[in-house]
């Protein structure tokens, strides 16, 4: 089975406090630690496990610039057979549909039985997978938390729905699935693994290679644009307890008693 996994490099929220910049129009991007979007790691792990069972190759692809190569290499260190960078000036400022349009062009140049994405990016809208499927006229399922290969033409997939319940579906190949976190345990990638793929050539495709018309992607094609970032004024927020740890604990115990938290 030929599997494509679409990944993204995002600011890592477990490593960073996301704050506004001094101009108040963007987040503070200096010193941000970037990593692979977390759900994308689960998607790559799932692809590797499927390829191990059914045979075939795993390709990872991202839309971005030179900085984004590092996430492709990381996923190759996990075991992906190859990485491809889709990069072009005209791609800058693409909205979700723009990214899906670029990916569609790439998929049509190649042949994949299964396309996976992470369910959502930290700064994204859980949208590219569903859009890509619709552009390709492939079936789609989101929030996928289990995959079973039925035969060469079908999968049985579970979707995470409310209350911890799982919705089981049969889906025809080729299809697009967006993968929920927790579907598997992504393998650990050590420095040694990263070093082994450090010098592997990563092919780059631009708009003309893919046959993407400039007006359909990038800033020019975007119908959805972020104006700025801000921090909203929420109600009063929490009363932050101050003082020494001992004072804080005493105060907290008083409050807990008053609210029925200690029996």
């Amino acid at each position: 089975m030929e599997i494509l996994v679409c990944v993204r490099r995002v600011p890592d929220t477990s490593e960073n406090e996301i704050q506004l910049n001094s101009a108040g129009n963007d987040i503070e991007r200096d010193d941000l630690v970037y990593s692979v979007n977390e759900p994308d790691n689960y998607a790559v792990e799932e692809a590797l496990q499927i390829a191990a069972k059914a045979g075939g190759n795993v390709t990872v692809v991202t839309v971005g610039g030179d900085d984004d190569e590092e996430v492709l290499r990381r996923e190759m260190a996990m075991g992906a057979n190859q990485g491809v960078l889709l990069s072009d000036k005209v791609f800058d400022g693409s909205d979700g549909k723009g990214i899906a349009t670029i990916l569609k062009a790439f998929v049509q140049k190649n042949k994949y039985d299964l396309i996976l994405t992470g369910i959502q990016a930290e700064d994204g809208g859980a949208q590219v997978g569903g859009m890509l499927a619709a552009l390709l006229d492939y079936p789609f399922a989101s929030l996928v938390n289990s995959i079973e290969i039925l035969d060469g033409k079908k999968l049985k997939v579970g979707r995470e729905i409310e209350g911890g319940n799982r919705e089981m579906n049969e889906i025809d190949l080729p299809c697009v699935l967006s993968i929920q976190t927790g579907i598997n345990e992504p393998r650990y990638v050590g420095m040694r693994g990263i070093r082994q793929v450090a010098s592997v050539e990563i092919p780059t495709c631009g708009a003309s290679d893919l046959g993407v018309a400039a007006g359909t992607v990038g800033e020019a094609g975007a119908k959805v644009k972020r104006t700025d970032y801000f921090v909203p004024a929420f109600g009063k927020g929490a009363e932050i307890l101050q003082g020494s740890q001992e004072e804080i604990i005493d105060k907290l115990i008083e409050l807990m008693k008053a609210k029925g938290g200690m029996n």
């Binding site: 600011p11 369910i119 569903g130 552009l135 119908k223 801000f230 604990i249």
Partner: protein
């Protein structure tokens, strides 16, 4: 002004809370809006929901079709593409069904898509101005969306408060014939109900709930010890379940359990809306988190900015001492 549609999610003959919230969202786009409800389904359940919708919607478009008796987004997308006129703005609740439906629907309607909208600042020419959250709610973003060729807007459940209004006394319009036969490459099989866990967190008055800040599996014991002295249970947020440190039955949130404790201690939990969606009954929330920007501090009563791994054992000791003294 573009015509606004609200997709109605329903189950067992009862409309989801979002049905009323989408009316409120439509009025934020256009204060004079009379949105049209669009609903798919089958049989008596469908008719029962249509009847209740007449109170809040002036027009209810009913699509009766046996194929999506279970709401399969792949089938329902085809139905909506057949009935929604070009340029229409379609509002959909942003939950597991809307996440499944809307991105592809926007492609097939050739319209714009914005997901998980929690605020609407009105329309400026062709541009609808909305508010989203990014980075787990640490920052918000103003987003503009060109609605000149229509839009699909996913609305965050609970973000728009339903307004009291005069009953719409609406009409139900049967659109079933326009839809015809539906078939898709994805077929619903069954729903597997979650297994009951060792501890029923929905029955506890006090929950010590842990998130990513617990850092490793061995640290769960720190929360267990505090829970023991409090007579509480340990619950958690999604990353702890993803890491397999606690079973799914301990997860609070829209994809986990809905709990109604008196006191909720959120320890190392950032406070995403999916997590908070599982917290009902207005509990007293204590937030303990290293990151002062964590969204949990916006909803908590009391906050402590500190490392839970140091703080919780101290708290446990103090409570143990206090209890010992009281005996």
């Amino acid at each position: 002004m573009a015509r606004i549609f609200a997709y109605i999610v329903h189950k067992g003959g009862i409309a989801d809370d979002s049905a009323a919230e989408l009316v409120a969202a439509a009025r934020k786009i256009d204060s004079a809006a009379t949105p049209t409800a669009v609903i798919t389904g089958w049989g008596a359940d469908l008719d029962a929901v249509c009847e209740t919708l007449r109170a809040s919607y002036s027009e209810v478009w009913k699509i009766a079709n046996e194929a999506p008796a279970y709401p399969n987004a792949e089938l329902i997308r085809q139905a909506l593409v057949k009935v929604v006129p070009s340029g229409g703005i379609v509002l959909v609740p942003h939950a597991h069904f809307g996440i499944d439906l809307s991105p592809g629907l926007s492609i097939k309607l050739n319209s714009a898509y914005v997901s998980d909208v929690l605020g609407i600042d009105g329309i400026d020419g062709d541009w609808l101005k909305v508010v989203r959250q990014e980075f787990g709610g640490q920052v918000s973003a103003h987003v503009r969306c060109d609605v000149s060729s229509g839009a699909v807007i996913n609305i965050r459940p609970g973000a728009f408060k339903p307004q009291d209004g005069t009953p719409a006394n609406g009409v139900v319009v049967d659109k079933s014939a326009e839809v015809g036969t539906l078939a898709a490459g994805r077929r619903y099989l069954e729903t597997v109900v979650a297994e009951a866990g060792d501890v029923d967190i929905t029955k506890h008055a006090v929950l010590v709930s842990v998130g990513r800040g617990i850092q490793e599996k061995d640290n769960i014991a720190i929360a267990e010890e505090l829970a023991d002295v409090l007579g509480a249970a340990v619950s958690c947020s999604r990353p702890v379940v993803d890491a397999k440190w606690l079973p799914k039955s301990r997860q609070v949130g829209s994809s986990g359990q809905t709990v109604k404790p008196k006191v909720y201690m959120a320890c190392g939990i950032s406070g995403s809306f999916q997590h908070l969606a599982g917290l009902k009954g207005n509990p007293f929330i204590v937030a303990i988190n290293k990151n002062p920007k964590a969204p949990i501090f916006q909803v908590a009563e009391v906050g402590i900015v500190t490392d839970m791994l140091e703080f919780l054992p101290e708290l446990t000791n103090k409570i143990r001492e206090a209890k010992g003294a009281a005996v």
